[in-house]
């Protein structure tokens, strides 16, 4: 069976600028794939090509086995979409919006009603289902958009920055629901510029920068692959020789912060062994020893070129 999403050399040109430049990646069955990049990197444009909202200028997108250029309707029937800036119809109630979606996806009325009631309940909107969407808060609107995307029980879900600018409560509700959906088998494609969100939620992330994929991997692997040098934090129960520390094998840099030493090392394992030997030699005991992993933030900033290494 083909992967749910297969993008090959996807390209989009606006005027003279290439917004998406030969982007290729696959999303595997059952995973949460994070599409991570700074503003203007091309996340939304890529998502729109994958969901058949705009045509690509080059390359191919296969979603659930269908070519999005030739067979978009059948693919759309089986996936759900939460676009970046989409709205529900504000002159309709939440319930009417959901019934409209039911008809647009060809659902039987009774099934649409049962699904709508379930989703509104799960998303905390049931009491206000009859109210016009006009009166909804931003978080409520976004939860409704999510319910509209899920009404037809899609096996694949696209979300373009679904929690951007939302209150904490709505964000939690949405992320929890995504996790539950994924556990029940839904494949999820999620764009975000929030590293923490990608880190917590995603099985793999693809990082896009100026229209190009710069890395695709599991968040943990990205974090460690990015750092060829590592950090070690150590403190001793008595004064030790700073020069002695700096002279240790694999240690590149030392800096003192309060009672702690910050070391930059090439090899964490060799550094820890050297440190224990060093402490014994100095007649000191190690009080704390940390090997803080680089955060995904650091990896992200490094990969997207927003920070100099």
């Amino acid at each position: 069976m083909p992967d749910p999403i297969e993008a090959r050399d996807l390209t989009k040109v606006f005027g003279g600028t290439t917004a998406v430049d030969r982007v290729s990646f696959s999303v595997r069955q059952g995973e949460i794939f994070g599409f991570l990049g700074p503003n203007g990197a091309g996340k939304t444009t890529t998502t729109r090509m994958l969901t058949g909202v705009i045509p690509s200028d080059g390359g191919t997108a296969h979603v659930l086995g269908y070519d999005m250029r030739t067979d978009p309707v059948r693919a759309k029937q089986r996936f759900g979409v939460v676009p970046e800036t989409a709205n529900a119809y504000t002159d309709l109630s939440a319930w009417q919006n959901l019934m409209l979606m039911g008809e647009l996806y060809g659902l039987a009325r009774t099934r649409a009603e049962a699904r709508a009631a379930d989703l509104l309940g799960a998303l905390g909107l049931l009491e206000r289902k009859g109210q016009k969407v006009q009166a909804y808060s931003k978080g409520m609107k976004q939860r409704l958009i999510l319910a509209m995307a899920l009404l037809h029980e899609p096996e694949l879900l696209f979300l373009d920055e679904p929690t951007s600018g939302l209150d904490v409560q709505s964000t939690h509700l949405i992320l929890d629901l995504l996790r539950d959906l994924n556990r029940a088998g839904t494949t999820i494609f999620l764009t975000t510029h929030n590293m923490e969100e990608a880190n917590r939620l995603c099985d793999r992330v693809g990082i896009i920068r100026s229209g190009r994929i710069v890395a695709i991997d599991a968040p943990e692997k990205l974090k460690s692959a990015i750092e060829r040098v590592h950090r070690v934090e150590v403190s001793f129960d008595r004064e030790v020789s700073g020069d002695g520390l700096a002279a240790l094998e694999t240690v590149l840099l030392t800096a003192r912060e309060g009672d702690k030493w910050q070391l930059v090392v090439e090899d964490t394992d060799a550094a820890v062994r050297a440190l224990t030997a060093f402490a014994r030699g100095q007649g000191a005991a190690i009080v704390t020893l940390n090997t803080p992993a680089p955060s995904l933030d650091e990896a992200f900033l490094r990969l997207t070129g927003e920070a100099e290494p």
Binding site: K76, M101, E103, Y105
Partner: protein, 251 residues
């Protein structure tokens, strides 16, 4: 179920039409405009010192009512939905661009027919006999589809500013009415006037309505129906092709 099957797409177009009616047509101002337009048209023409027979007047007014109501709202729907950001969600649904356009057309057909019924009712109340009810019914249905297609054609420029599109659509709609033998009977038009009039689908529609009320028409009824039918098919096909092309630029 194959979602791409034409019958399924038509069913979904109907859902879009219902949405349009609920959101854009069943609005106080739109309904008031719709109902007052025929009334004011009648007042304006009856109180004017026109020496034209009532049957000619009514056929012209029916044509104007249907044309203006069927093209009143639909050109602005895409710009409104683009601006309100509901269009992108619609575009991500398993419906073709053609089904979306068809849905908008169905809504404007129903609105046009409903308001035109008011004009016809006023004409009948003024004592005009209806000689060919079937011809009138066929003309109104065909005309409504034709004018709705024109309305959607006016919506093709991919702007998300409703005011731009309304200005543009007025620029097209008023001249079209003026060349259509609605204000001067076709018999009295100079050759160049007639040459212009045959280019407008309104001409054939008004001629059919005149036939329905008087039994007399300038062109043979079959010619009127065929011409209107060809215009309808042509406009519908062109509007769908063009919208398929411009839709992505609205996102």
């Amino acid at each position: 179920m194959n979602p791409a099957h034409p019958a399924e797409q038509v069913r979904r177009a109907w859902a879009i039409a219902k949405k349009d009616i609920r959101i854009y047509y069943l609005k106080g101002p739109v309904l008031i405009f719709g109902v007052f337009m025929p009334v004011f048209l009648f007042l304006a023409f009856l109180m004017g010192s026109r020496q034209l027979p009532l049957a000619f007047l009514v056929s012209g007014l029916v044509a104007m009512t249907l044309f203006f109501t069927a093209t009143a709202v639909s050109p602005a729907i895409f710009p409104w939905e683009g601006q309100a950001k509901t269009l992108e969600r619609l575009a991500a649904c398993p419906v073709t661009v053609e089904a979306i356009v068809l849905g908008d057309m169905i809504a404007s057909v129903l609105f046009g027919i409903a308001i035109t019924a008011v004009t016809i009712a006023i004409g009948l109340a003024l004592g005009l006999p209806l000689l060919h009810g079937v011809a009138l019914g066929a003309a109104v249905l065909l005309g409504a589809v034709c004018f709705s297609a024109i309305g959607m054609l006016l919506a093709v420029p991919p702007t998300n500013l409703p005011s731009n599109i309304m200005m543009f659509s007025s620029l097209i709609r008023f001249p079209l009415v003026f060349i259509s033998g609605i204000f001067v009977p076709l018999e009295q038009l100079p050759p160049w006037g007639l040459a212009l009039a045959v280019c407008s689908p309104l001409t054939y529609f008004a001629d059919l309505v005149r036939y329905a009320f008087t039994g007399i028409s300038y062109f043979p009824v079959e010619t009127d129906l065929a011409a209107l039918g060809i215009f309808t098919l042509g406009f519908t096909a062109v509007t769908m092709v063009l919208h398929r092309r411009t839709m992505p630029r609205r996102m």
